[in-house]
């Protein structure tokens, strides 16, 4: 068994502080860096035990930088796996054996790895995946596009969405903290829009690098850790379905319900560590509302400013979590809305579907899934304004 006394320092010799101190109280200094570098700085302060990497644009740099942290002694296990399928299985093994584990991927890599994500959730391992969304094939694209997130919605993983490098830094630290709660203990996927966040530099406030999260304690997990130090359950990671009887069917069904229930139980923790599941921007009384996540919410905020010039009050509801979906928060924030726009970086509008699903019967507003861009197209604020002005019958002044 691992020592149970309170640890003062982690493997890298950093002083251990509480998640609340690290996220909310520690003094912060301004830095200028990319989203990939923000991943490195978060992992540096997260007492991470293991990470496995695989090259794919645009997440490669973040994965390289985690490797540098391993070389510097901040991360216990690090290597390059054979493919995203192998990598996601390797990190599963690391987490089953009791490690705090993080990995990164993008687009086609996510789909290559797909079979692993429900397995992570079913195995109740708090793995963290930083997903730098990009287009998926065919045709080949390496450009920003978040269609892949639509495929992940029902994998049983928590899904959070960062708008900026700052969001990403804080969400990685909060992600471990929430995912590892004994009554949650499911994987967390932190999404950013590839390139827009991973490759652009921005000002970011960081706490000092000589403090870090408390190390993961696998003996608080709701499932036995696979280290031969605790009694094995007779059901241990057991393929229930292989027993063809009603108990096995009921077990499998209730196990899947329990994974979803665990995501629900993450709400109070996520609310605390993310300072709410949504962020509001603009005129609180506005009848025109943008519901968005990630870069789309950043662009919607710009559109709100432009619309102010047109004399049209508007606001943005930025969703920080997609799973759990901020149902009550969204319903409350669109109470006075007449028009709800859902701008997205994909062709299918998975977020629009989610918004419609949770507002059905709770809002009389017209829901408009626009604008939608994909395959690497940008979403200028003017494009959003144009959609709004089309609706109001006003003349479009801005040149796009």
């Amino acid at each position: 068994m691992q020592a149970t006394e309170t640890l003062l320092y982690n493997r890298a010799g950093q002083k251990i502080v509480s998640p609340d101190y690290l996220l909310f109280e520690a003094p912060r200094a301004k830095h200028f860096m990319t989203g990939s570098e923000a991943v490195k700085e978060a992992v540096r302060r997260a007492s991470v035990d293991a990470s496995v990497s695989y090259p794919i644009t645009p997440q490669s740099e973040a994965a390289h930088l985690i490797g540098e942290l391993w070389a510097e002694g901040y991360v216990g296990v690090y290597f390059r796996g054979e493919s995203e399928f192998g990598v996601m299985s390797e990190v599963a093994g690391c987490a089953m054996a009791g490690a705090r584990t993080i990995t990164t991927t993008s687009g086609p890599g996510t789909l290559r790895a797909m079979e692993n994500f429900p397995m992570w959730a079913g195995t109740r391992i708090p793995v963290q995946l930083v997903l730098m969304a990009r287009g998926i094939n065919s045709p080949l694209s390496i450009q920003p596009d978040n269609l892949e997130v639509g495929f992940l919605l029902d994998t049983g993983c928590m899904i959070w969405y960062a708008e900026t490098a700052q969001d990403l830094f804080d969400m990685i630290l909060a992600g471990f903290t929430v995912a590892e709660q004994p009554d949650v203990h499911v994987p967390v996927i932190n999404v950013i829009d590839g390139f827009f966040v991973s490759h652009t530099r921005e000002a970011i406030m960081l706490p000092p690098d000589d403090i870090a999260l408390p190390p993961y304690n696998p003996y608080k997990a709701p499932m036995p850790v696979i280290d031969a130090e605790v009694p094995p359950g007779r059901f241990l990671r057991d393929p229930f379905v292989m027993k063809s009887n009603y108990i096995s069917y009921a077990t499998h069904a209730s196990w899947q319900w329990e994974v979803r229930a665990a995501i629900e139980r993450s709400r109070p923790y996520a609310k605390h560590y993310l300072r709410g599941l949504i962020e509001l921007f603009g005129n609180p009384e506005a009848e025109l509302v943008f519901v968005a996540c990630g870069t789309a919410s950043a662009q919607a905020k710009e559109a709100v400013r432009l619309l102010e010039d047109e004399g049209i009050p508007a606001k943005v509801v930025k969703l920080k979590t997609i799973r759990p979906f901020p149902i009550e928060e969204l319903r409350e924030s669109v109470k006075g809305a007449k028009y709800i726009f859902v701008p997205e970086f994909n062709v299918v509008g998975w977020l629009e579907r989610e918004v419609r699903r949770y507002l059905y019967g709770h809002s009389n507003a017209e829901i408009i899934g626009a604008p939608r861009v994909a395959g690497g197209m940008t979403m200028p604020a003017e494009a959003i304004v144009k959609e709004v002005l089309k609706l109001t019958g006003k003349e479009v002044k801005h040149v796009i």
Binding site: Q2, D49, A50, V52, G76, V77, F79, G81, E82, S83, F85, G86, V87, S89, E90, V91, A92, G93, C94, A95, M96, A97, G98, A99, E115, N116, M119, T123, P224, I226, D227, A228, E229, V230, P231, P232, R234, F235, L236, R237, D238, P239, M242, K243
Partner: protein
């Protein structure tokens, strides 16, 4: 040693099923000299397996579990197939995650246990069928060999996808007719033992499970070499008597016949592996 995790609270002992009490009192823990000769006298680590009557794979599992030198600190990673029917019945830490990713999961487990327990020996053993090892999981299998992961990989080769109803696998013999190969298999049986050698395994053996004692020797060598040197691979013929039309008491005969031909005993070891094996022999552990 962590076998005290099997100790039962005295106050609860009268309510515990006999097979669990037996695990504490009659299983062979903490004794690296344990082996197949203990089978009639001790509690086995597998309880009421759910394979077919007379299945040679069940014999293989019993011999392997009886031969593990360090069961109290052994993690077993398995895959989908007939073997996945057995793992819920094994009294050790076992993992089933996906079909074909067993060597990737085992790599992660082994590496983390090395950093979490630097002063303890924790053996990680992969047990999977031919479909899992050579077809769907070949990438993960070979890549774990390339990376020199210190794990033992054991393939139960029954030359067919048995659990799904008898489809051709990469290890089916050329010309054999199975489902999905209605005109007979069109290409040769994959020489997995040779691929293991070429991919960096330090100890490789190919055999049937007709001789329990030989299985014990091979398993022990493979585990000791994996501990000290790097990846090891054991290829066992465990025929699916059901799919090749034999009766439940024909398995042993079938294996003895194959001992003389395509499963003739074959063993390979690198000089470093040989050193380890000789050292273990000197310690009378083989």
């Amino acid at each position: 040693m962590s076998y005290n995790i099997y100790e039962i609270n005295e106050d609860l002992k009268e309510f515990i099923p006999k097979e669990i009490v037996d695990l504490q009192e009659r299983a062979t823990w903490g004794n690296p000299k344990r082996g197949v000769m203990d089978l009639p006298y001790s509690k086995e680590l597998v309880e009421e397996h759910s394979l077919c009557a007379g299945c040679p794979e069940s014999a293989a599992l019993r011999y392997i579990l009886a031969s593990l030198p360090n069961p109290e600190d052994t993690i077993i990673v398995n895959s989908t197939g007939c073997t996945s029917l057995v793992f819920p019945h094994i009294a050790l830490h076992t993992v089933h995650s996906l079909f074909g990713n067993q060597n990737a999961v085992a790599s992660g487990i082994k590496r983390v246990l090395e950093i979490r327990f630097p002063d303890k020996v924790k053996d990680v053993v992969v047990l999977a069928g031919d479909g899992a090892t050579v077809d769907i999981g070949l990438d993960c299998t070979l890549q774990s060999f390339f990376r020199q992961e210190r794990i033992t990989t054991i393939c139960f080769d029954n030359e067919v996808y048995a659990n799904t109803g008898g489809q051709e696998s990469g290890l089916t013999v050329k010309g054999y007719v199975f489902k999905m190969a209605p005109k007979g298999k069109q290409f040769d049986k994959v020489p997995m033992w040779q691929l293991a050698i070429d991919s960096g395994c330090h100890y490789v053996a190919r055999l049937t499970v007709s001789s329990p004692k030989r299985v014990e020797q091979v398993i022990k060598k493979a585990i000791y070499v994996a501990r000290e040197v790097g990846p090891t691979y054991v290829h066992l013929y465990t025929p699916c008597i059901l799919e090749i039309g034999l009766n439940s008491d024909d398995g042993l005969e079938e294996m003895r016949n194959r001992d003389k031909e395509r499963f003739a005993f074959f063993e390979y070891m690198t000089p470093h592996a040989e050193e380890v094996i000789n050292k273990v022999k000197e310690e009378c552990l083989l």
